[in-house]
Symmetry: C2
Subunit: 196 residues, 2 copies
DNA sequence: AAACATACGGAACCGTGTTCCGTTTGACAA
DNA sequence: TTGTCAAACGGAACACGGTTCCGTATGTTT
């Protein structure tokens, strides 16, 4: 677990203890504030919650995207790893795809504002898009190929486009009781089936 | 065209000529700036383009939503009126629904940032949501009912939810060549068909 | 032409992201 | 243990965009 002299070639020169401690504290504070106020909460709020100055945030996480990625990395990884697992679990590829998409939707709709920020074209969020897409599109692509090979869905559905579409459908899904993202995503998945 | 003493009961006390002129100018300027920079362009840009002070904008259009509504009112009305027309045009209700949705999608994707702002939960945009929803949901509802009555689609699709979903799918559809909102919306509509 | 209300322009204000700089603190060596 | 120095810190300062305020200008009416 100690990576202070491990890793890639050069000895990453010891990080100071207070810096490491602050990074942890910030991660916890950010997670709490994200839950309370969404991922676009003011930087000052997060700093205050962590008991540090604003510059400390920028030092550890140059862009908001970096902070968001750090907070949710575990869950994104888990989602990515669930793809192959579902495919191997015995269900049909189409069922596996449906369940995996549901996992993704559940993740997004419980993170206030995350879906919206995933769509933001603000330059600062470039790395955020890239991370989600790099990590999840291949998994989705794999599932789509399996379902297409099984003849369950039309073969011309693009994984990138599907992920963006699903992400979009999740925008604002919290705070609108009349809107159920999962139902619409279900319709979308249903629409991918071969015409018979 | 002169509505200075016509209309609803009370004599709307003459609006000053310069005010009326500025309102026009502002509408034109806003339309131009919206095309160039999207519907979230800085207020100052619009004021500058119109050659007026910022306060003049707020005087005529208290919130940005009012300005956006004023700029796009004609097109929204046209879209709303196209619904019944399509239904009466001889095609099946499902086809009419599909075409109408395409009209709506075309409208949204060509107005930079409008779809995103339609989903914004910023309080100032409340009237914008309300206007779009009030005007279009009944039309959509009518089309859905016709298609459901014809047995072409499942009867449990909610017009409000569908409109929001379609709107969401249009977010960011400009400026991403790999993302085609129309294709995804097509999948969604296809998913509404009765299982056979 | 005078009087008055309407409308105007731009400065001022406020909240939020981002950067800068003087100060503090942990790490390492003597 | 103490001295030295770079790493890290905190908060003030800055930039920018939305919103409001107020002194001034202008259209309208008598």
């Amino acid at each position: 677990m100690n990576d202070s002299h491990g890793g890639a070639g050069r000895a990453a020169p010891h990080k100071r203890a207070d810096a490491r401690r602050n990074e942890r504290t910030l991660l916890d504070a950010a997670a709490a504030v994200f839950v309370a106020s969404g991922v676009e909460a003011p930087v000052r709020d997060i700093a205050a919650r962590a008991g540090v100055g604003v510059a400390t945030i920028y030092r550890h996480f140059p862009t908001r995207a970096d902070l968001i990625i750090a907070v949710y990395r575990h869950q994104v990884e888990a989602c990515a790893e669930a793809g192959p697992a579902l495919l191997a679990s015995g269900a049909t590829p189409h069922a596996a795809l449906g369940r995996w998409i549901n996992l993704f939707v559940d993740f997004l709709v419980t993170k206030h504002g995350l879906a919206a920020v995933l769509r933001s074209d603000d330059a600062g969020f470039g790395t955020l898009h890239a991370y989600f897409l790099d990590r999840l599109v291949p998994v989705c692509s794999h599932l789509l190929e399996a379902a297409a090979a099984a003849g369950e869905i039309r073969p011309d559905v693009d994984a990138y486009e599907l992920m963006r579409g699903v992400g979009n459908l999740c925008i604002g899904a919290d705070k609108d009781p009349r809107y159920d993202a999962r139902r619409l995503v279900g319709l979308l998945i249903a629409g991918m089936r071969v015409p018979q």
